[in-house]
């Protein structure tokens, strides 16, 4: 297996409380990895350590390593913004920036000076809106505020915004939980389309979504990693008792 992210001896604390206990895991390249588990098991916390969002919460502490392409992103001389450029995040609730639809997508490109002139920005914005499956719906109203879009559209806009900085990894923190079924489906099919080019890590609370998306599965419980492996194996033949119970819907 070609690992894109490697987690080594990772412990995470909120204040004194241990939220992640000695996590060791490798996340395969260009596949969809789904992290699942009951609420409060630390799955979102784990995800947030991959783009160094965990440290945005005050009074947190972290030990261990997270390696992206073999480089520890918690090294002292690492540039957080470079990490976050490579590791994009699709949040739980769509959070369009308070600017136009166009500027939302162009935002990250401008920050990183990824284009040279106006024309290039235009084609860039169009490109990523197409990938996110939003272009046809918004091509006539690019200068309208992003908040005028429906929630489902907003989430696809956030996807386009994230892709526009050319990441290699997409993190999704329950990215469909705020959406209606049709919008959810839309996002899911985008993610399936994109997995050839991007390593994707999704946190989900619904088992069915996990089954639809996952190539690789991580099961967590109370801050510990219980089981990880290719989706087919874990779903059909879980090795651990807890995983079995979870898959059977016992908790």
């Amino acid at each position: 297996m070609d690992a894109h992210i490697q987690v080594k001896n990772l412990n995470a604390y909120y204040g004194k409380q241990l939220a992640l206990k000695n996590i060791n895991i490798e996340i395969p390249k260009n596949q969809i990895t789904v992290i699942m588990g009951p609420s409060g098991c630390g799955k979102t916390t784990l995800l947030k350590t991959f783009n160094r969002f965990f440290e945005l919460t005050e009074n947190t502490q972290l030990t261990g390593e997270v390696l992206v392409d073999g480089e520890n992103i918690y090294n002292k001389d690492v540039d957080v913004t470079e990490v976050r450029k490579v590791v994009g995040l699709l949040a739980q609730r769509p959070s369009p920036l308070p600017m136009s639809i166009y500027d939302n997508v162009a935002y990250g490109m401008r920050i990183h000076h990824l284009r040279k002139n106006r024309e290039e920005y235009k084609t860039g914005v169009k490109h990523y809106l197409e990938i996110a499956g939003l272009w046809d719906e918004v091509c006539k109203r690019l200068s309208e505020p992003a908040t005028s879009l429906s929630i489902g559209q907003q989430q696809r806009l956030c996807l386009a915004r994230g892709l526009a900085v050319e990441p290699e990894i997409i993190l999704g923190d329950e990215p469909t939980s705020a959406l209606d079924p049709i919008s959810s489906q839309n996002i899911e099919s985008r993610l399936l389309e994109l997995k050839k080019q991007y390593t994707t890590v999704i946190v989900t609370h619904t088992l069915r979504q996990a089954k639809r998306l996952a190539d690789y599965v991580i099961f967590m419980y109370l801050g510990e990693l219980i089981e990880a492996g290719p989706a087919k194996e874990v779903f059909s033949n879980p090795k651990h008792e807890r995983t079995k119970q979870y898959l059977e819907g016992l908790f």
Binding site: V68, D69, E71, I73, N75, V78, D79, E82, V86, E168
Partner: protein
């Protein structure tokens, strides 16, 4: 791939620069407090004597002879206490009403807006208003007039502080009491008052501190005298005005005493401020958070 930080990239330099000037700005603001306190302490302390806080001005005091400013200290305490008392009588029901009946109503919005507007009216205008009332009614400057002017200055400060703290109070408790069959009035009076206690105390002390230091409102209304007032209709001295008048004196000794009076006033205000902080934190232990 390489995540190594390029420290000399433009945006990192800007980040560093901004953070640095922000810290400098914070240090400037914080040190201005230090500078003020140091100035008052170092200039006020040398001329601060026991006589100053225990005696009223004797003959020739304002030419550098013996005496003190007990009249102003007592006068200020009378003024600020009276003003605070009247302000409480008005503030408490308003704060309770805003909480119990008008949490999200239009009228509640008007009342809050009015309080914010009143809070912004300078005390010299309240003083002028008090003066306008006095001459209309044919009254002279007196303790009572000063108290009324100060009550107006303090009212919005006190009510806003109370309202602010109550609004932050957890709502579950109140709903629990409502579910037990209390009327809103009873909820307001029992639960809310008990829960509000830190807020009420904070509001009262905040307003008292403001009242005792306010000069512009009592300038017109309370007058100034060397005697300690014995009735509400007497004029009275006040500490801020004692500072102000002594500083205007041509005699250096009197000006020095003005600095000492400023020190006394500062100490009182700081005590009130620390006191309210301490009380609020103590009371907070006994209320549900």
């Amino acid at each position: 791939m390489n995540f190594k930080k390029k420290h000399f990239e433009r945006r990192h330099l800007i980040e560093l620069f901004i953070k640095t000037i922000m810290r400098i700005a914070l240090i400037i603001v914080a040190s201005s407090l230090g500078l003020i306190l140091w100035t008052i302490l170092s200039r006020g302390l040398p001329s601060l004597t026991w006589d100053m806080v225990t005696q009223i001005p004797k003959g020739g005091y304002y030419m550098g002879k013996e005496g003190g400013i007990l009249n102003a200290i007592i006068g200020s305490i009378y003024l600020a206490s009276g003003g605070t008392l009247i302000a409480i009588i008005l503030s408490l029901p308003i704060a309770l009403y805003l909480q119990a009946y008008a949490q999200d109503s239009k009228w509640g919005d008007y009342v809050r807006l009015s309080l914010d507007v009143l809070w912004g009216i300078p005390s010299i205008v309240y003083g002028a208003f008090g003066f306008a009332l006095m001459i209309s009614l044919g009254l002279r400057a007196s303790l009572l007039a000063g108290i009324i002017a100060l009550a107006l200055v303090e009212l919005p400060i006190m009510t806003r502080a109370m309202d602010e703290v109550i609004r932050r109070m957890p709502k579950d408790l109140e709903h629990a009491a409502l579910a037990l069959g209390s009327t809103k009035f009873e909820v307001a009076l029992r639960v809310v008052t008990r829960q509000m206690l830190p807020g009420i105390i904070t509001g009262i002390l905040l307003a008292f501190g403001r009242g005792i230091g306010d000069a512009a409102s009592v300038l017109f209304t309370a007058g100034y005298t060397d005697r300690i007032p014995t009735s509400l209709m007497n004029p009275t001295a006040s500490l801020p005005l004692a500072v102000f008048f002594q500083l205007g004196s041509p005699y250096p000794e009197v000006r020095e005493r003005g600095y000492a009076a400023a020190l006394i006033l500062t100490i009182i205000v700081l005590l009130v401020s620390f006191g309210s902080r301490w009380l609020a934190s103590r009371l907070n232990k006994y209320t549900v958070k």
